[in-house]
Symmetry: C2
Subunit: 472 residues, 2 copies
């Protein structure tokens, strides 16, 4: 089933110019066609080619987004929602041209309901800005992808991060969204109640839809109480299998670990250099526990015993904020640390997620595949969920390397799918992984997705060229 | 937008008879048109009128369900999936006739992946049967609606229960489903990985769709480790407001309570009589904590302090299995206890769910409304989620009472919606609440739901007459 795509040519061209002119007249200085701004709104984080939109518009409100969508629908202009531009699979590229809607002017925190532990925000608010705002209320928002991404973008890509093993991903964190649909109508996906058995779960349908079904203009998010005590630390292992076995036992024993991160030896080496850590250069777990003073001590000691049983070294842990912060800052800087392994190289961060029983073999095989392909890269992951990342440092000018990367990625995904896993645990599909969608989900599921897309966006104006592969 | 409904008349009638004959020939003794069996497969749990299907068929496998769906599609026969028939909003009624698919022959537990803490089951497996099977593996499945419902039905209605505050609802518990779609194709909604950012969330779309989008023939479910220690107990409060305040503080302080249930004074009185409990006849919280020995003691003591601060009485708690079991058995028998308040009356159990900040006023107003309407009923709820039930004991022959019930329900839902809540926390929409769908979600959201329904089931053969109101 091929969905009509919007192409910037022929009579459509004139129609679209007319739409762009109308938006220019309406939004004045909040509308731009400058080359620099357009390029900045194309994809820049990885080495996918930059495909800039034809224009960028900066709305202030949901009604303005409605106006933009209606103009674009009338003039067959594609619409690409833009948060902070930190997605990594080409989600903000404009392969069919069109208008990028930049949400940087919609950064209001509209409400914090302390008793209900939720908040209502505009999509341009970033996760760090939200946590800054929440700090003195004793609440926090746990989802933490590497970048300080916008919450609208995080919802659209179903983002997660290091806390997902305890607090879930954007799938669990989003209570409801307000979204402008392709016909310009505003939909509210759910009420503020914690649970509901009323109607189709439009919230979960929009979360992870990457801007292809509706444009999120407001989010209600679930918050959590800042824990009374936090302990954190690191533990080396002789190999990734041993580390993964410790993860499985920790999860199975119901220890409510808040973070459990694997770094392979190469990544530890990179972090040692970049963040001056002095850790043994072995596969390493970084952990964090949240709870009462007594609770986190108990959890830490239980984990230490598990690590010992699995052949791990000493678990060095502390409840001191300073030591923990140093460790987690290093973890968050892992991307920059890995980049420093090969100055000047392009970086490419990819992720897969497998059932944890298959994690050890999958990580070990991936390490071997990197070496066999003579690629520079590190492996790190949110292993409590079975999710791991490969950070590749690539000479983009070297045809052999680029070909080796393509093969490596294809094999990595095949390995994940064969293990019952997914082609992406948290980065999403965008353009980069569209060709794997059918391999993962099968033809009937992709067909259902396309039917839904066509029902809700018959003109294919919402972020066209994403998620679905033209060949499917 | 009116969706074409399947009516059992005119030339359709002959076509449908032909389809029924074909199914009879194919399924032999596993197909029946007996009046008793048909009536048993219409709605029986509440006082909604019983609308029996034209026939009942008992498939053994997914391919057989495919055959049935294809026959039904060809002959315009509605299809109503049937688990244990314990839904309470008319979900299994057959207002447009058609074929009930009874899953009682599909009760296999296909796999238990202990390391990944998940399992794969057929839809006819009940929650108790699953837990029986899991017991010696140290794992359990936490979702516990009152009835021993089938897991397929629980997924279809997005069921939850007393453990949802800690472990989530079927929304969180279902990892993936296999579903036969309206065209007879089998779709797998997701992989077995714990999280994924790949494509639309078809799992969450099918969970809660009440058989209107696809027929679930296999489920992958998330399991949890049986906790090392459990403590439980009860605590009386002077009024429901005080009890609700204690709930809010417990949640806000991040105490990982596993169950926190409110019973109003009328329900406590009923349980005292039915289960011989001897509790003070005051609003009461029943609680349960899961964790380590030290952890559950700490949690119990913290809650006792909170209850004291909120004006509650002593928190009587124990880690002894016998005492806890007696209490929770009484909680699970609350429905029968309430029924005994008025022998011979029809019972009607309804539920709403509101943000917990609004729970106290909503419960108190509901109590007053019951009294003002001179209705016999009790209130009890999964208050950690803001979810509460009203159990009405109604003389179905009394026109005044029936009218009073209609008004009471309408006002209850209006109260919930005005508080930012939903018209159903866990029972679903079915027939009984279809008229409230648009009031809750708004026209654009219901329109999106209808577009999805029409895209995936253009012939409207999957459980027609449910969820959507003909007048919308």
């Amino acid at each position: 089933m091929v969905h009509r795509s919007v192409a910037m040519q022929g009579e459509d061209g004139a129609l679209r110019e007319c739409g762009l002119a109308a938006l220019a007249a309406r939004f004045g200085e909040r509308f731009s066609r400058s080359a620099a701004l357009r390029e900045q709104h194309g994809h820049t984080v990885t080495w996918l080619a930059n495909e800039p939109p034809e224009a960028v518009v900066f709305p202030d409100s949901t009604p303005e987004v409605q106006e933009i969508v209606r103009q674009c629908a009338r003039h067959r202009l594609p619409i690409i929602p833009f948060g902070t531009g930190t997605s990594v699979e080409g989600q903000v590229n404009a392969p069919a041209g069109g208008v990028s809607i930049d949400f940087s002017r919609m950064q209001a925190i509209l409400a914090v309901n302390e008793e209900d532990m939720d908040c209502v925000v505009q999509p341009g608010v970033t996760r760090k800005a939200l946590n800054e705002h929440l700090r003195d209320k004793g609440l926090f928002f746990p989802i933490d992808p590497g970048a300080d991404a916008s919450l609208g973008g995080m919802a659209a890509t179903r983002a997660s991060g290091t806390n997902a093993v305890r607090y879930g991903t954007m799938r669990e964190a989003v209570v409801a969204v307000k979204a402008v649909m392709a016909d310009g109508e505003v939909l509210t996906s759910a009420r503020r109640a914690r649970k509901s058995a009323s109607g189709y779960d439009l919230t979960r349908l929009l979360v992870g839809s990457e801007g292809t079904l509706g444009i999120i203009t407001e989010l209600t998010l679930r918050l959590h109480g800042i824990p009374e005590a936090i302990s954190g630390g690191y533990c080396p292992f002789p190999d990734v299998e041993a580390a993964c076995n410790a993860v499985i036992m920790t999860i199975q024993l119901g220890i409510p670990v808040a973070r459990i991160e694997l770094l392979d030896a190469a990544q530890v080496k990179a972090c040692n250099v970049y963040s001056n850590l002095g850790l043994p250069e072995a596969p390493m777990l970084f952990l964090e526990f949240h709870g009462s003073e007594g609770g986190v001590a108990e959890q830490s000691e239980k984990f230490a015993a598990i690590a010992g049983d699995c052949g791990g070294g000493d678990f060095h842990w502390s409840t001191m904020a300073e030591e923990r912060t140093r460790l987690w800052q290093a973890r968050h800087d892992a991307y920059w640390a890995a980049k420093a392994l090969r100055p000047g190289a392009s970086s490419y961060s990819t992720d897969v997620c497998v059932p944890i029983s298959r994690l050890a073999e999958c990580v070990a095989e991936t390490r071997r595949a990197l070496e066999a392909a003579r690629l520079v890269g590190t492996i790190l992951g949110h292993v409590g969920d079975g999710n791991f990342h490969v950070l590749l440092l690539v000479d983009g000018q070297d045809a052999r390397e680029r070909a080796a990367v393509d093969t490596f990625l294809r094999d990595l995904i095949a390995r994940s799918l064969a293990a019952g896993g997914t082609c992406s645990g948290e980065h999403g599909i965008g353009q980069g992984k569209a060709k794997y969608l059918a391999a993962e989900h099968g033809v009937p599921a992709v067909r259902a997705m396309r039917l839904i897309k066509r029902a809700l966006d018959p003109g294919n104006i919402l972020n066209p060229g994403k998620l679905f592969d033209a060949a499917d």
